[in-house]
């Protein structure tokens, strides 16, 4: 009896192994982002979008190379750089060669340094770091390296587009800048002050303020100052609960001008702003879902909604990341040699399903793409967010924004 069991187990095992080698491999992509803690909603939404993009864009279309499929393996980093490094090591030990991460520039800076070190020491198990949302300019400037690719526009590029739009609006004479008290909030404030000063020297910065991140219960006192300053527009890099709290409070306390944000949509925020945010909340973003730019984009969004009825595609760059990685693997002819894949990725021009183009600049591995100013509204919304009737609609577009922006990156290529 025992022998028969053993025999069965062995034959089953050999069948599995045989099946594995006879069919195509899976290419594992390690997703390291918060899946618990205060920023869990942002991370979980990103994971869903990655899993969907991998299935829809690669696996359902027969995969890459000889039918190799993408598999997203998630790791929870709790938004902590320290935890991320541990998860990175776990991912590498599991044989994962592609890492994606986006929430928090502090995490991205830690990861890019660790990846660089690892790749120098272990040429046999090198990994690529595909950054889909961490926007600290340093990542593609002084801290750049060959293994890091950024698919989102960086904070300066977004501010460049935002300040272009503000500069065109003659009715804006006074601007109030407010943000969270950490590196990203400071970077946004500095960029806003210097770029507005250059493009519209007549605009007065009537307030430049940082508040503690994730600790403010009630934003009313800040809103009072903003209203009292006589500002015509507000600029903020806030995200998560800080974004919603600030936005709601400013509007409820009598501010009527536009609020230019980096992250004022999705993750429940659009639904929660609802009617109050109409005509006030503006968002600078690389992606357009309203009006639907292409047939292909509509089909993609509808398929996503069928799978995640409560979910949003608020990061179109995620499908670009997956699509460009697939193209690069096809061009390189291998998924194991990440140097070849990285070489194929740099300088790549990619036609996205969203109807626009993305160019991965070779000097600093920064994606160059259209940047749009979106408007929070319930009119002309084909794909609303958060199960509400509200969504973000494209208002203005800066084509291939900041394509000639200088970089201080001095990359060492292997």
């Amino acid at each position: 009896m025992k022998n028969i069991t053993k025999l069965g187990a062995v034959s089953a095992l050999s069948l599995i192994i045989g099946a594995g080698s006879a069919f195509a491999d899976t290419i594992k992509i390690g997703f390291i982002d918060p899946l618990s803690g205060p920023f869990a909603s942002t991370g979980t939404n990103g994971l869903h979008q990655f899993e969907f993009a991998a299935d829809y864009m690669v696996n359902d279309k027969g995969g890459v190379l000889d039918g190799d499929t993408f598999e997203i393996v998630s790791f929870d980093n709790k938004t902590s750089p320290k935890e991320s490094l541990i998860q990175l090591q776990v991912a590498i030990d599991q044989g994962i060669r592609y890492i994606v991460q986006g929430n928090g520039s502090a995490v991205a800076l830690a990861l890019t340094e660790a990846v660089d070190k690892h790749n120098r020491r272990n040429p046999d198990s090198r990994v690529l770091f595909l950054n889909y949302a961490a926007v600290d300019p340093a990542l593609t400037n002084e801290q750049c390296n060959f293994w890091h690719f950024r698919f989102d526009a960086n904070a300066d590029m977004k501010m460049d587009a935002m300040s272009d739009v503000i500069a065109k609006d003659e009715s804006i004479k006074k601007v109030y800048v407010i943000g969270q008290d950490y590196s990203f909030g400071k970077a946004v404030a500095d960029a806003a002050v210097s770029m507005l000063g250059e493009k519209r020297p007549d605009i007065e910065i009537v307030g430049n303020e940082l508040h503690p991140i994730g600790k403010v219960k009630d934003f009313t006192p800040y809103s009072r100052k903003i209203v009292a300053s006589g500002a015509d527009a507000v600029i903020t890099g806030n995200w998560g609960a800080d974004m919603l709290g600030l936005g709601k409070s400013i509007i409820e306390n009598g501010f009527t001008g536009p609020i230019y944000t980096y992250y004022g949509a999705g993750s429940g925020m659009t639904g929660a702003f609802g009617e109050t945010g109409k005509g006030a909340i503006r968002l600078v973003s690389e992606g357009i879902v309203n009006p639907p730019p292409t047939e292909e984009a509509s089909a993609y969004y509808q398929a996503f909604q069928a799978k995640y009825p409560d979910g949003n595609i608020d990061q179109t760059r995620i499908s670009n990341t997956v699509g460009m990685l697939a193209e690069a693997i096809k061009a390189a002819g291998t998924a194991d040699d990440v140097v070849a894949v990285a070489t194929a990725l740099k300088g790549m021009e990619y036609q996205t399903i969203w109807g626009s183009k993305v160019m991965m600049r070779a000097e600093d591995h920064q994606a160059i793409q259209n940047i749009n100013i979106l408007n929070h509204t319930d009119e002309g919304v084909t794909f609303p967010f958060d199960g509400s009737t509200f969504g973000v609609v494209s208002e203005q577009t800066v084509e291939m924004a900041s394509a000639d922006a200088p970089t201080t990156c001095e990359m060492q290529r292997p």
Binding site: D218, P221, A241, L244, G245, A272, D386
Partner: protein, 318 residues
């Protein structure tokens, strides 16, 4: 001058909201000696229940029903949880409430997800009540003030003028004697715990639409509630009210005016160092009041603990 009036109103709203949380907590603490770490979690539950009810039956039913559910849940926690743990002493009780806070947070994320909820002010109250030189005061804030003041007056009446209140007050100080007189002290404990958590629930219901309904809302408010009852004095309703308003106004004014540390120090006759960038105290000199607004209550608590350990209105010296 106008802005002072506006800030007074804003601070009043913040303070009264804090009062609704600390009133229940201070009663529970002084009666049972339990620091209920899960108190702010009941506040969160209030907001989430009210949100779900408001989807089906409207805001007003939410305001009515959600605190009742939260109060019943609180009473059940006391009856079947705390009372059993009580016999093992205070530390297990502390750990129990701490665990309960974590459990409720996970439960909320499990049921409602991790996103912000679209819980908003009812249309009837969604207008500007009046404006003071361009600063509009939303009608909802006035409504919040009335609700909290109403609850304070009601509580004060029950505690000081009724028989039930007298027994509660007696049980606060001399539980054994009250028991010996034939009163059911465990039932009183359960009732107070239930009412205390229901008050937290009311606070959640009316704060959810303005401060946001999300899984982190309990955490954001959790620690400041303890500070309030320590400053006010344990078991004192007036103390809780006074401390809540003090904290509300203190933080609001500190955030609303950019008072710079260098101005204060200069005013005290200390000259700004020549080379501020190289000075050892550069960060200290460049502090502004909004930056330290949220730690001011904690500084006040430390001072109170040093100079008046029983709190501003506290009577018991133990």
């Amino acid at each position: 001058m106008d802005l002072i009036l506006v800030n007074l109103i804003d601070g009043l709203v913040t303070g009264l909201l804090l009062f609704m949380l600390s009133a229940g907590l201070t009663l529970i603490f002084s009666m049972m000696g339990v620091l209920n770490f899960a108190h702010a979690s009941f506040y969160m539950l209030g907001a989430y229940f009210a949100y779900s009810i408001s989807l089906a039956l409207g805001f007003w039913m939410g305001l009515l029903v959600a605190p009742l559910i939260v109060g019943l849940a609180g009473a059940a926690v006391e009856r079947y949880g705390l009372r059993r743990v009580h016999q093992y002493g205070h530390v297990p009780e502390l750990i129990f409430t701490f665990g309960l806070a974590l459990l409720i947070e996970e439960l909320v994320q499990f049921v409602w997800g991790k996103n912000q909820m679209a819980y908003s002010v009812p249309d009837v109250l969604n207008f500007t009540a009046f404006a003071i030189s361009g600063n509009s005061i939303p009608a909802y804030k006035i409504f919040m003030i009335f609700i909290s003041v109403g609850i304070f007056i009601g509580l004060l009446y029950v505690l000081t003028k009724t028989r039930v209140g007298m027994i509660i007050q007696a049980a606060l100080s001399y539980p054994r004697t009250v028991e010996a007189l034939g009163h059911n002290v465990p039932l009183i404990f359960m009732g107070v715990f239930g009412v205390g958590t229901a008050l937290a629930g009311v606070a959640g219901v009316i704060a959810g639409p303005v401060l946001g309904t999300f899984p982190g809302m309990a955490f954001v408010l959790g620690s400041i509630v303890f500070v309030t009852i320590v400053i006010g004095g344990l078991g004192s309703l007036w103390g809780a009210l006074f401390a809540s308003l003090l904290i509300g106004w203190m933080t609001t004014f500190a955030k609303a005016y950019n008072i710079e540390m260098s101005n204060i120090l200069n005013g005290l006759g200390i000259a700004t160092p020549e080379n501020l960038d190289e000075s050892l105290f550069r960060d200290f000199w460049s502090l502004t009041s909004p930056q330290i607004a949220d730690i001011l209550p904690y500084i006040l608590m430390v001072l109170i603990l040093i100079f008046r350990p029983a709190g501003l209105f506290g009577k018991r010296s133990s």
